[in-house]
């Protein structure tokens, strides 16, 4: 039920009532149709039967009474009148019977009619017989006496016929009665059915109407309450109708609106707090600026005094600079003298270097000679070796020669001793040559180092000369700069005076700034009050936590 929309509820309610009413109408229509059929049957079937049977009965009654009357008449004219009446009546009965026969439907009716028809024929035959007899009697001139014949022949038939007709009429009357009863019972049933149907329709309409009423008023009340709460500034309330109809859509819309408003108001609240904070900061900053401006004013005054001092100092500096300029010129002259001395020293150094080169070439020649000596020594060594070998073999041969080789052995030993001495001497020479060679090498190295040092000294002298030259140039260049500096100093003194004037103006401007800052402080106070008002007015909104 909760998921039905209000539109569906309304449609369903009306449709239910409409369906009940339609059912009632259909049933009533059926009842009335039945009643109509019954009435038609009475009109078309039963009433003509009753009418014709009654007509037959009346015709027979008339025939009987006419016959009785005929029997009582004596006058022949009256008799003939009655006879024609009887004939007319007979035709009438015959017509009625023909009409009745056309309406016969049921078997009982058919049996009754067959009995009636038989009895009517018998009656007619008996009647005709009576009439013929009386007519014959009349023609003979006698007074007919029909009473007996009637009593004997016609009366029993008539009684039977009368009872048969009575039964037929009764039967049709019973049919008519039962048909009428059926019609009235149908009408009663229709009355009851219609009443019950109307009651059901009314009850259903009431029930559905109440449901609809509840479905609309329940959520509407909650919605109205929520709106009332929101109007009082409470945004914490949210609707949860637990249904899926138009009110659910409305509740969703309401919730979304409440969320948006909550966000908006939350932002406004935070912003108002931030505004308050910012105003406080601005106020503090403004006060600081005020203090700073005051300080600036004071500082400006101090600076003005300092500028005046600078002006005085600059004038003193101009005098000092003139003195320095004189000293610089003297320095340049002295440095020029030093540079000339250094140039002479450089030339001397050049000569020393050339001498060192000559020594080195001499040493190289010495080393070469020592190498030649080494070659000679090697040759001597080889000769000594060969001599030794020779003397050894000589000694051996002399020993083998025995007595004869004795003298030769002495010579051989002597030769070997000389060879050994030669070897020792060559060894000594070799050692000495090696010493000379190492000494020469050391000398060459020492001379190289010496040349290097001399070269370095020369470079240093050249550097010193260059530096002295630069000094001279710079000192000479200083003189015009001193003049520039002098002019600058004078300009500085003038500038310091101007600065002093400007600072006076600045001091006044700082004072004005202080005043305007005081005004802005007043404005900030007002702003603070406005912000407080805004905060208090926004704080009445209650937001969901």
């Amino acid at each position: 039920m909760k998921s039905l929309t209000i539109r569906h509820r309304i449609l369903v309610s009306f449709a239910a009532v409409l369906v009940v009413m339609s059912v009632i109408a259909v049933i009533a229509y059926a009842w009335f149709l039945q009643a109509g059929q019954e009435a038609t049957e009475v009109e078309k079937g039963i009433l003509p039967d009753l009418y014709h049977s009654t007509a037959i009965m009346v015709g027979q009654m008339t025939a009987h009474s006419l016959l009785q009357e005929y029997a009582l008449q004596d006058n022949p004219s009256d008799r003939s009148t009655l006879e024609s009446a009887i004939t007319t009546n007979r035709d009438q009965v015959q017509r009625s019977m023909g009409d009745y026969e056309a309406t016969i439907v049921s078997d009982i009716d058919k049996q009754n009619y067959a009995v009636v028809k038989e009895l009517a024929n018998q009656f007619r035959l008996a009647e005709t017989a009576v009439l013929d007899t009386s007519r014959a009697a009349l023609s003979k001139g006698e007074t007919p006496n029909e009473s007996l014949a009637i009593k004997n022949t016609v009366e029993p038939i008539f009684v039977k016929l009368q009872s048969a007709l009575q039964a037929m009429v009764e039967d049709h009357r019973g049919e008519a009665n039962s048909a009428t009863q059926r019609i009235s019972s149908i009408v009663r049933t229709a009355e009851v059915g219609l009443s019950v149907g109307l009651l059901i329709a009314l009850g259903l309409a009431l029930l559905l109407g109440y449901q609809l009423f509840r479905a609309i008023t329940g959520p509407l009340t909650r919605l109205v309450n929520a709106v009332q709460l929101m109007r009082q500034g409470d945004f914490s309330e949210r609707l949860d109708l637990r249904r899926r109809d138009e009110f659910s859509v409305l509740a969703d819309g309401f919730n979304a609106m409440a969320d948006d408003l909550t966000t908006l108001i939350g932002q406004v609240q935070r912003s108002s707090i931030q505004v308050g904070t910012s105003i406080t900061e601005i106020a503090a900053t403004s006060k600081q600026q005020q203090a700073t401006a005051t300080e600036i004013a004071a500082t400006t005054t101090e600076i003005r005094a300092t500028a005046k001092e600078i002006s005085a100092t600059s004038n003193e500096l101009v005098r000092t600079m003139n003195e320095v300029s004189t000293v610089a010129e003297q320095t340049a002259a002295v440095a020029g003298g030093g540079q000339a001395g250094l140039t002479r020293m450089e030339e001397t150094m050049q000569q020393v270097m050339e001498a060192a080169g000559a020594i080195n070439s001499k040493l190289a020649i010495l080393s070469e000679k020592a190498g030649s000596i080494n070659q000679v020594v090697t040759t001597i060594t080889k000769v000594a070796d060969q001599t030794n070998l020779l003397s050894l073999n000589a000694s051996i041969e002399a020993e083998k020669a025995g007595q004869y080789g004795r003298g030769f052995a002495v010579v051989a030993t002597e030769i070997r001793r000389l060879a050994d001495q030669t070897a020792v001497s060559t060894y000594d020479i070799e050692q000495m040559v090696k010493d000379i060679q190492s000494a020469v090498a050391a000398g060459v190295m020492g001379m190289d180092k010496f040349s290097e040092q001399v070269r370095r000294g020369m470079q240093e002298i050249q550097q010193v000369g260059g530096q002295l030259f630069e000094i001279i140039q710079q000192v000479q260049g200083l003189v015009p700069r001193f003049e520039v500096a002098n002019e600058g100093m004078q300009a500085q003194a003038t500038g310091a005076g101007q600065i002093s004037d400007t600072l006076t103006q600045l001091s006044e401007a700082a004072q004005q700034t202080v005043e305007s800052l005081q005004q802005s402080t007043l404005a900030i106070d007002e702003l603070n009050q406005v912000s407080g008002g805004m905060r208090s007015s926004i704080s009445r909104f209650k937001l969901r936590a």
Binding site: T381, N388, L392, N393, I396, E399, R416, D420
Partner: protein
């Protein structure tokens, strides 16, 4: 009696000059591949190839240094077949002769544990000098090899 002196390591040794044919400077050696240890190869002596043994290598296990004083001593020895054969010895510091009486030499008492070529010793000043027997320088292996060499040379 005159001896030729030579060195093995720091010590001096002597060879009887009567066994010496000639002292030669170092010569080119024809190497014999697969020869026993100590056999350096062949040298030509007056046109005759003679086997050459490095005494230092034989005794100390290292070859003689290649100096001027390292020389070849051509010796004579009596082979087992009674013929006299020539044998070249390479030795270090072959530069001097020494005159000694054979009676100065005395056995040193450790002969069984030492190589057979080391003979009796004598003192020369502060150092001890030892007589080397040339015939015993050849071990059995070298001797066999030399015999085979000689046989091949005869053919």
């Amino acid at each position: 009696m005159l001896f030729l002196a030579f060195s093995m390591g720091p010590d001096r040794y002597l060879i009887d000059v009567h066994q010496i044919e000639e002292v030669l400077p170092r010569l080119d050696v024809k190497v014999l591949p697969g020869a026993p240890t100590g056999v350096m190869g062949l040298v030509s002596y007056n046109g005759i190839p003679i086997p050459l043994i490095d005494v230092t290598l034989l005794a100390l296990g290292r070859p003689s240094e290649r100096l001027l004083s390292t020389r070849i001593v051509v010796t004579r020895y009596h082979a087992q077949d009674g013929e006299q054969r020539l044998l070249g010895l390479i030795a270090e510091r072959v530069t001097d002769t020494l005159e000694r009486d054979p009676a100065d030499f005395a056995p040193f008492g450790l002969e069984p544990g030492t190589p057979p070529y080391l003979g009796p010793v004598a003192s020369d000043g502060s150092e001890i000098i030892q007589w080397v027997k040339v015939a015993s320088l050849l071990s059995e292996e070298i001797r066999t090899a030399l015999l085979r060499q000689a046989a091949t040379g005869d053919q």
